[in-house]
């Protein structure tokens, strides 16, 4: 069943409810449920990405770039994943970071990252990233990922999920090497990479 048919059914049902006081017609409702219950995944924004974009907003607010972000017109958050950039455009709408308007850029992993202040590498693009990472150098770009091993590849912050909630690990040493710092407000909530780590 397509999205369109779902909407038509929803509209019919809405009219039905609007026009009749007999609102407890269970048979009708179950029928509609069965007819319209085929998967329509992706019909709404990905909640996990929405939350992660919120975290990235906070990492940006509470991060410190040694260069001081001088001569910039905007604060640029990049990702190769269009699904994320679409979500981020909504999350960051009219938001400012370091008194700069936020710019969301969909980038190609192989392109120059210099225009980015933050890069988020989703699982989908992790392998591309892994192949590219040695050519990156140590620019002042906050690197955020969501894959095991991201920190070992020089990443700064890595998301993981625990009991249905988003958590993150931070590599303070990688941040330092890149000329970046994170406020203790963020660090106290994250897991510091290397603590109790056998890797």
């Amino acid at each position: 069943m397509s999205n369109f048919n779902n909407q038509v059914l929803a509209s019919m049902l809405y009219k039905y409810f609007s026009s009749t006081p007999k609102i407890f017609n269970i048979k009708a409702l179950i029928l509609v449920l069965i007819i319209s219950s085929a998967p329509v995944f992706g019909a709404e924004l990905d909640r996990e990405l929405i939350l992660k974009s919120g975290f990235i907003y906070n990492f940006s607010r509470f991060g410190k770039w040694e260069s001081g972000l001088i001569n910039q017109d905007g604060f640029t958050i990049c990702s190769p994943d269009k699904a994320f950039t679409e979500v981020a455009k909504i999350t960051f709408y009219e938001k400012q970071v370091k008194r700069l308007p936020v710019v969301i850029e969909k980038i190609d992993v192989n392109n120059d990252l210099n225009k980015c202040n933050v890069v988020f590498v989703t699982k989908k693009y992790y392998l591309d990233w892994k192949n590219r990472v040695n050519q990156l150098g140590r620019r002042q770009v906050m690197l955020i990922g969501e894959n095991k091993g991201f920190i070992l590849l020089g990443g700064h912050i890595n998301f993981f999920i625990l009991s249905g909630k988003i958590r993150f690990e931070v590599s303070v040493s990688n941040l330092k090497k890149s000329g970046l710092k994170l406020s203790s407000k963020v660090l106290r909530l994250g897991k510091i990479h290397g603590e109790n780590s056998h890797e």
Binding site: M1, V32, R47, G164, I166, R167, L189
Partner: protein, 687 residues
């Protein structure tokens, strides 16, 4: 009533005065977003039934965050619940509580379900909660969700008045050392300790302990003996095998020794006497849960929990064992949300029969099982959805009980929601109501017949409160309509409800009429000794029956207002009206016809130099608890001396005289004492 009006006037004047005194300072940026994100669930569904934004919920729901609890200086779950508008929280004495919502609370209330991390903590003998033995470290509570009104479709039988869901923090968020030491006028000491750390790269744990010793009240209905002594230790561990599979396990061991003024019948005189005793309880709880994310749109969980509890006091021994198994799957199918689940619960109840409590139950092993299905149909996405569901639950006393519900939510703007809720629920008789015979303080012959012979008329008959294996489940139908408005700096939440119940519990006193006729005949024949011997074998039986109807009507209104970033307030007003319809000769077993009006005002004020102040004022008028009107004022001051060190001073019940909050003293082992002013100083250190 005049006194209440005076209190209201005083309260309003106080609030206005306070508002004018407070210096409202412009805010700096306050990082609230990150904390909220840490608490947000990745999926719309979660193992704890379904987690949703409050704005999408067709129920009267209120959430206390960890910050709310710490701001108010709360030290126990009952104290926390006293912050919830519409919750009736009455302190019986220094360790016992009567707590409910949309009804009248009692020491043995059984229609408010209490869950800690999804584990039901009710006592299977009376299907209620010994609140004094619910021991959850407040510093590790993530939030307390309170649903007012019936929620049987999701939560099963005995949730007909509401649900209290205490959710503790994931141990990954408590990987520090923590100590909290408090002392005050009612508490000799109250100490909490916690240590948490990581388990490799994928897990974490915390261990904690709590030690409390409190003093008895100085005035009571009977000589006071309500001392408190409690020690507990526990552990929680969380482990993520990967991003999709997580394990959560916890255990808790508790020992408490509560002073109690026991009124127990002397079987020789057949009259109650008071004894100062103590009750020792030992409790072990265990829970393990696996959650798996099956896809972006669905997850499922399986949970096993168990608890064992013993209670020892002079002449009475209790032992309860419970094992719970639960499975649940939540999924999104297209635009629709589907929740399904099943549960099984095994209870083993042992009561050592004593001369005044007799257990005539055929079996002390009880089984409950059932399943639920709920579908949320998004008719017009983000605007109009309906929720249909049913819980079918089986119990050993009344068989299958169905609890269907229909809910509708209409968001007529992004910030305004109108909702409607119609549901049926059942309250299953408890083991005590079904199987127990209790000898209570005797009735005199003249309560039933006047013979003219003072010796006979004043003779005290042996009197029993008898459970009844034939009582039926209380069936409740509830209709509720609500409105929510959420603006940037204020929100308003209103719900109006009507709940009507059949098969509500009553009892009626009965004496064998033939025995009374024999007494009269013996007296007419001038044979008083024969009349006395007949009376010695003539009991009065108060038999429980399920014959009343109860209508509860009410309103809950809550206005939250962030007046400035440094001052926020919450004002609430609730009405609960109970109206019974009884057969002739019957007495209501729980509560009475009454109207309770609760008004509450809460203020949180940020002060310079990392200090803050909270003021909670509450007034309750009405005679539901036979106490008349009550008025309480609690004030707390906190000073964050360093990022990891905080000092607080809390004054409870500050501006009113010592008074009873509960006077239904005819309950077993319940002897109310006056709630007194008290002051507590606490030091919190995180390391």
């Amino acid at each position: 009533m005049l006194q209440t009006q005076s209190y209201h006037r005083w309260g309003v004047s106080f609030i206005i005065g306070l508002l004018t005194l407070v210096k409202v300072v412009e805010a700096n940026d306050v990082d609230l977003e990150l904390e909220s994100l840490m608490n947000a669930d990745v999926q719309v569904t979660s193992a704890m039934k379904r987690s949703q934004p409050i704005s999408n919920t067709a129920s009267s729901i209120y959430v206390l965050s960890n910050k709310d609890l710490l701001n108010a200086g709360v030290q126990s779950i009952p104290q926390a619940l006293s912050l919830v508008p519409g919750m009736q929280v009455r302190q019986i004495d220094n360790n016992q509580w009567a707590i409910t919502t949309r009804f009248a609370g009692g020491r043995y209330s059984s229609s408010l379900l209490v869950l800690i991390d999804g584990q039901s903590v009710y006592n299977p003998s009376f299907a209620g909660v010994y609140w004094e033995n619910i021991d959850v470290p407040i510093q590790d509570v993530e939030r307390i969700e309170v649903i007012r009104g019936q929620t049987g479709t999701l939560w099963g039988v005995n949730a007909s008045n509401g649900v209290v869901n205490v959710i503790t923090k994931n141990s990954i968020d408590t990987r520090t050392g923590y100590a909290n030491i408090a002392a005050g006028s009612e508490q000799e000491y109250n100490m909490n300790f916690r240590y948490g750390d990581s388990i490799g790269n994928q897990g974490s744990y915390r261990v904690y302990s709590h030690h409390l010793e409190g003093e008895k009240a100085s005035q009571g209905f009977f000589p006071t003996n309500d001392t408190v002594q409690l020690n507990s230790i526990g552990m929680r561990a969380d482990y993520a095998f990967d991003d999709d599979i997580t394990l959560f396990a916890k255990w808790n061991v508790l020992n408490s020794r509560m002073g109690q003024t026991t009124r127990r019948v002397n079987t020789a005189t057949r009259i109650n006497n008071s004894y100062n005793e103590s009750v020792e309880r030992n409790k072990i709880d265990f829970l393990v849960r696996f959650e798996e994310r099956l896809s972006k749109n669905s997850n499922h969980m399986v949970q096993l929990s168990a608890n064992k509890e013993t209670g020892d006091q002079e002449f009475l021994g209790e032992e309860f064992n419970a094992v719970d198994f639960e499975y649940q799957i939540n999924t999104l199918v297209g635009e629709h949300q589907i929740d399904m689940g099943a549960y099984y619960r095994y209870n083993d109840i042992k009561l050592d029969s004593v001369d005044y409590i007799m257990d005539f139950g055929e079996s002390n092993k009880l089984e409950h099982y059932g399943g639920f299905f709920q579908a949320q149909l998004n008719i017009v996405p983000d605007t109009f959805h309906i929720v249909l569901g049913n819980m079918s639950a089986h119990n050993d006393f009344t068989g299958w009980e169905n609890q269907p519900s229909f809910r509708a939510i209409y968001k007529f703007s992004p910030k305004q929601t109108l909702w409607f809720n119609a549901s049926k629920a059942a309250r299953v008789p408890s083991y005590l109501e079904h199987n127990i015979k209790l000898q209570v303080s005797g009735s005199k012959v003249k309560d039933f017949v006047n013979t003219g012979n003072p010796l006979i008329d004043n003779y005290v008959l042996a009197t029993y409160l008898r459970g009844n294996p034939n009582i039926e489940a209380e069936k409740t139908v509830s209709y509720e309509v609500g409105y929510r408005l959420a603006q940037e700096d204020y929100s308003f939440d209103l719900s109006i409800y009507n709940t009507s119940s059949d098969n509500t519990l009553t009892y009626s006193p009965a004496v064998d009429p033939n025995a009374l006729n024999s007494v009269m005949a013996a007296l007419l024949a001038g044979n008083a000794p024969l009349a006395l011997s007949v009376l010695q074998s003539t009991p009065v039986n108060f038999d429980l029956a399920s014959l009343a109807t109860l209508n509860v009507t009410g309103v809950d209104a809550v206005l939250s207002w962030d007046i400035s970033p440094k001052l926020n307030t919450e004002l609430s007003y609730t009405i609960t009206k109970l109206d019974y319809d009884l057969p002739s000769g019957h007495i209501v077993a729980i509560s009475r016809n009454s109207t309770l009006i609760q008004a509450m005002a809460k203020f949180n004020i940020m002060l310079p130099h990392n200090q803050s102040l909270n003021i909670n004022v509450k007034s309750e008028s009405g005679d539901t608890y036979k106490t008349g009107d009550i008025f309480t004022t609690d004030i707390g001051w906190r000073w964050k001396i360093k990022p990891n060190v905080m000092l607080s001073v809390n004054a409870w019940n500050l501006l009113s005289s010592d008074s009873y909050e509960y006077l239904n003293s005819n309950e077993l082992h319940t002897s109310p004492t006056k709630v007194e002013k008290s002051v507590t100083a606490s030091l919190y250190v995180e390391f």
